[in-house]
């Protein structure tokens, strides 16, 4: 705003000023009018002087005629001539002649050089005495306007000079008065505008006159006030959440700067609480958005009520709130403060006549006021919040080094995902499923690993959520699918076409119809029968999209693929699911296997599941078999297939093929260690 404002402010300064334009427009007219007026006046004066001269010469002619009458009549022509000669004293008169009654010139005075503009006047000469009255002759006088012309020329010159001087004086007067009456008020207003632009506040133009500029200034001041109010309102809106009236995300940055700028004591601690409401989406879905907004207002009021005057509360958007306490004595005090907030939030709220107990998670970060990372407080608190939300919703997580370490590792992995794909860092390892008793390898589960160049091999539990959240889940699935199909090719080539490969299908793929097409296309391209593929799904993915999941599964099954329900027993363990979805296999979660044969309960559960599978004609697979007695227990309970370290750890396909090549003799337990590749001990794998 300020940059463009200065740009527009500079433009009028460079352009021609109003006063100059006014003067430029007025001056020629003024000069012209003055010159025309004075020329007109002089012309009329010249005209009247000509008339005066005409009259004067006529009078001279008449008076001379009287004087001359007698000498003329009495033929005293010398006297006539001398009387006539006297009129040459009038310098306008150029010549004069007296004619007698016969028309003969009896006397004349010589013509002067007449110059331009001559005229002649003629008068009869009457002579009378007591006895007679006759026309004795006539007198003719030639005269010149030359003197008048010369005089008029001089006057015009003077008028020109006077006109120019008057114009100059007017110019100065205009300039001065325009500066006083126009320029000054304009500059006052301009300066008020400039100041307003500089700091966004309204400055009044101090003009007290009652003329148009005074009125303009009043209007301007009114406008300034209005603009100022609007600006204040905009300012407020820019820095506040319109719903709750709390400070907004933008304010947060400012506030942090403020905190670092004016820390009360360098070693005082700042508590930063990042609050996220749990299941706010549920409230919105259940009660509607209006109620959701009301709910948020309630929460904001509670937060306001729970803090001290020096504390600072903001709503960052959605269901995220921030409370900063600029001075806390210790981290424990900060935790107590966060706890206090959590309690304040947790008081029940009435929404549409229903009691709702709000729940929130709080990520708490505490930093010294002079910490250079003070501006990172929101991110730090967010790490803690992430932890709380993911590990223990409805609690407070305090940021510590471990969390920070996790966070940094997570961030690092997230950033490394594109490179991981590009450089082929993702590897598919395979873990065998065997027929219990004979230990015959019937299928392999494809398990993804990330061979990070710096961090080594990373297990899927750590990076799969990152892949999913970064939107690369589908890509990874196809990567695994392709690798599995190639593995099937190689297995077939190695003489084991009966071995099938299971792929873990993430929930998103169930919702996406395109996976079936993709699988068909890939199988066709690589010459693999879809029936060699087994697709493992979790109960959670079924729950979220029951309709589309059922359709996708049906389609996949029609293609020949086998569908396995993974991790059964840990989630909903819905018997309805077992019935509704087109399942071929159920994999019992390793949690039930781990304490067998010691735990009678687990044995009972596994027993029930086995009998249920038998009833529903589902193939049962026990995961996580690590010891021989566990295998034996499974066999006893009628479980047909097993999977686990007891048989084989996940390993690259080459190792599997190598093992298969060696495997002609019956499988021995001691061989396990020899074929486990280095680094494979890190993670058991989702299915392992």
């Amino acid at each position: 705003m300020s940059a463009s404002g200065q740009g527009t402010a500079a433009a009028p300064a460079a352009s021609r000023s109003v006063i100059r334009s006014m003067i430029a427009a007025t001056l020629p007219v003024l000069l012209l009018v003055q010159l025309l007026a004075s020329a007109g006046l002089e012309l009329s004066s010249f005209w009247s002087q000509m008339k005066q001269l005409d009259g004067r010469v006529a009078r001279i002619a008449e008076s001379r005629a009287q004087l001359i009458a007698e000498p003329l009549w009495k033929m005293r022509y010398t006297q006539v001539a001398s009387v006539l000669a006297e009129i040459l004293q009038d310098e306008s008169i150029a010549a004069a002649t007296v004619y007698d009654d016969t028309g003969a010139a009896v006397a004349s005075v010589p013509a002067r050089s007449a110059g331009h503009g001559t005229a002649e006047v003629e008068r009869p000469i009457h002579y009378s005495n007591g006895n007679m009255a006759v026309q004795a002759g006539r007198i003719a006088i030639g005269y010149s306007y030359g003197t008048l012309y010369a005089e008029a020329g001089k006057v015009l010159e003077r008028l020109l000079v006077v006109g120019l001087l008057a114009t100059l004086a007017t110019l100065i007067a205009m300039r001065m008065s325009a500066n006083i009456f126009i320029g000054k008020p304009l500059s006052i207003m301009m300066s008020a505008i400039q100041r307003s632009k500089q700091d966004g506040r309204a400055y009044e133009a101090d003009i007290r006159s009652s003329n148009e500029f005074g009125q303009l200034a009043q209007a301007f001041n009114g406008l300034q006030l209005t603009t100022s109010n609007a600006l204040e309102r905009l300012q407020y809106l820019a820095w506040h959440d319109p719903l709750t009236g709390l400070a907004n995300r933008r304010s947060l940055t400012e506030q942090l700067l403020l905190l670092s700028g004016k820390a009360h004591a360098p070693d005082s601690l700042v508590a930063f609480c990042f609050i996220d409401l749990d299941d706010f989406k549920g409230i919105n879905d259940t009660f509607g958005h209006e109620a959701g907004d009301k709910f948020l207002i309630h929460i904001s009021e509670r937060l306001r009520g729970a803090v001290d005057a020096g504390d600072w509360v903001a709503r960052l958007g959605g269901d995220e709130f921030v409370v900063i306490r600029p001075e806390v004595a210790s981290e424990a005090a900060a935790q107590a403060f966060a706890q206090h907030l959590l309690q304040a939030i947790s008081a029940p709220v009435r929404l549409r006549d229903k009691q709702v107990v709000p729940r929130a998670s709080i990520g708490l970060a505490v930093r010294r006021a002079d910490d250079p990372e003070l501006s990172h407080l929101p991110a730090l608190a967010d790490i803690a919040l992430y932890h709380a939300k993911s590990k223990a919703p409805g609690t407070i997580a305090v940021l510590n080094d471990a969390l920070q370490h996790d966070y940094r590792r997570r961030r690092e992995l997230e950033l490394a995902i594109p490179a991981g794909f590009a450089e082929g860092q993702f590897e598919v390892w395979y873990q065998s499923q065997v027929r219990l008793g004979g230990n015959e390898l019937v299928s392999l589960e494809a398990l993804i690993r990330w061979r990070h160049p710096d961090l080594g091999v990373i297990g899927p539990a750590e990076f799969l959520p990152l892949i999913e959240s970064s939107g690369n889940g589908s890509r990874l699935t196809r990567y695994v699918l392709t690798d599995a199909c190639r593995a099937l090719q190689r297995l077939a080539a190695a003489g084991h076409p009966q071995i099938r490969i299971a792929i873990n299908l993430p929930p998103s793929e169930l919702a996406d119809q395109s996976f079936a097409d993709e699988m068909q296309e890939t199988c066709a391209r690589l010459g693999v029968a879809p029936s060699s593929l087994e697709l493992e799904i979790t109960e959670g993915s079924l729950i979220n999209n029951i309709a589309s999941a059922a359709e996708t599964l049906c389609r996949l099954r029609r293609m020949g693929a086998t569908i396995a329900l993974d991790d059964f027993g840990t989630g909903y363990s819905s018997l309805a699911h077992l019935r509704r979805f087109p399942l071929d296999k159920v994999k019992i979660d390793k949690a039930f296997i781990r304490d067998i044969p010691g735990s009678a309960e687990d044995k009972a559960i596994v027993g029930v599941i086995a009998s249920l599978a038998g009833t529903l004609e589902l193939t049962l697979v026990a995961e996580g078999i690590e010891r021989a007695e566990q295998a034996e227990a499974m066999i006893e309970m009628g479980v047909v297939f097993g999977q686990g370290y007891f048989y084989q750890r996940p390993q690259p396909l080459d190792d599997v093929l190598a093992w298969l090549a060696d495997e002609q003799a019956p499988w021995i337990a001691e061989g396990e260690a020899s074929i486990v590749p280095t680094g494979a001990s890190l993670v058991s794998g989702m299915a392992g």
Partner: protein, 388 residues
């Protein structure tokens, strides 16, 4: 001593009685002193001739005439006159000419001084006449005036001109006789009278037109110019100029000159009349250029001495009138021979002034006609004989 004085007085009275009784010779008359203040210039013919006739008469009538000349300067005239009045030995008579009324202060001073004063040629006019009244009324010592009848002179001149024009059939295309009048001036009584005479004569002649009355200031040159102008004008107007009436001889001579210059022959193509009896005029008459010159009024000088002589001898001219008017006469080719010599030679001593004195019992009755003049003339030699 007293006896001697008484004897003188008695002798004086006796002389007076004797003189009154009959014509007496100059030697027998008691001497009287006369001062004449002439307004004219030395060499100005008229006033010189006035003085000369005055002095000639003085010689005949035992009057001692002293002539002072104002040289045409009225201030000088007043100074001269007042000087005379202030003299210790005052003259018996003072003769003044009231030209331009300049002599009035002198007249009043003379009254105070008890000097008998006679106006010659110009008398009181206008306001002065009203204020001072008639001679001998308020001003006891103002004896009267002797003037010439110039109006009649003017008319006679005009008549002669008209007669000549008619005889020559010098009418213009309009059937009228066109004449030019040249006056001396427009203000002096002497001029006005002559001009009036012209007017009077022309009014009586319906076939005559005075084209112009021009004024030449009594001078020849101005008259010549005026005439030339007139003749030129007349030529342009297709007027046949028949005659030129000039108020005096010099102006007539100027007119003759101009007419001659214009190709006319005065006396044959055009007639000119003048006034003054001047010698030049007489010559022009003789040459046939000038029709006549009226005048003879210079003889007023002599006639004034005759009046004063009679007055001194107890025959007061005021018995008839204090205003003595003398008629002028014209000199033409016809009478030129009789008086021409007299005038040309200024031989005024040939005039027997004593013969013009009033007859006893007829005081104030005089015959100053040209005939009387001619009759009074003695031969040149005779005239000179009795004098000094």
């Amino acid at each position: 001593m007293a006896g001697f004085l008484r004897a003188l007085v008695v002798a004086g009275i006796a002389c007076g009685v004797l003189a009154a009784c009959g014509p007496a010779s100059a030697g027998s008359l008691q001497s009287r002193s006369v001062v004449f203040v002439s307004p004219g210039k030395t060499g100005e013919v008229f006033w010189d001739m006035v003085a000369e006739t005055m002095q000639a008469a003085g010689r005949k009538l035992n009057m001692d005439v002293e002539v002072l000349r104002a040289e045409r300067n009225y201030r000088t005239m007043q100074e001269l006159g007042l000087g005379v009045v202030a003299r210790a030995r005052k003259p018996d008579y003072l003769i003044l000419s009231n030209e331009e009324s300049a002599a009035v202060p002198i007249l009043e001073a003379a009254q105070s001084a008890g000097i008998k004063t006679l106006f010659l040629s110009n008398s009181l006019i206008g306001d002065d006449a009203v204020r001072l009244g008639a001679p001998r009324e308020r001003l006891k010592h103002w004896l009267g005036d002797i003037t010439t009848d110039l109006q009649t002179a003017g008319a006679r001149m005009a008549d002669a001109l008209i007669g000549a024009a008619r005889a020559g059939k010098w009418q213009s295309a309009d059937g009228k006789i066109h004449i030019l009048g040249i006056g001396g001036d427009e203000i002096t009584p002497a001029s006005i009278a002559r001009n009036t005479g012209l007017d009077r004569a022309v009014k009586a002649a319906p076939d005559v037109v005075v084209d112009r009355m021009l004024f030449a200031n009594w001078t020849q040159s101005e008259a010549e110019q005026a005439t030339a102008n007139y003749l030129s004008w007349a030529a342009r107007k297709n007027i046949r100029p028949a005659g030129i009436w000039a108020g005096n001889d010099p102006m007539a001579l100027g007119a003759i000159k101009a007419a001659t210059a214009a190709g006319l022959t005065p006396g044959k193509d055009i007639q000119v009349v003048g006034l003054n009896w001047s010698e030049d005029a007489l010559r022009e008459i003789e040459a046939g250029h000038l029709l006549l010159t009226d005048g003879g009024h210079f003889l007023l000088g002599g006639w004034s001495i005759v009046l004063l002589r009679d007055y001194a001898d107890g025959c007061d001219f005021a018995d008839a009138s204090p205003h003595v008017r003398v008629k002028t006469s014209a000199i033409t080719r016809d009478n030129l021979a009789s008086v021409g010599g007299l005038i040309k030679a200024h031989a005024f001593d040939r005039i027997a002034f004593e013969r013009f004195r009033a007859k006893p019992g007829h005081c104030g009755q005089y015959d100053f006609s040209i005939e009387a003049l001619v009759a009074s003339l003695s031969s040149a030699n005779a005239a000179r004989a009795p004098g000094k």
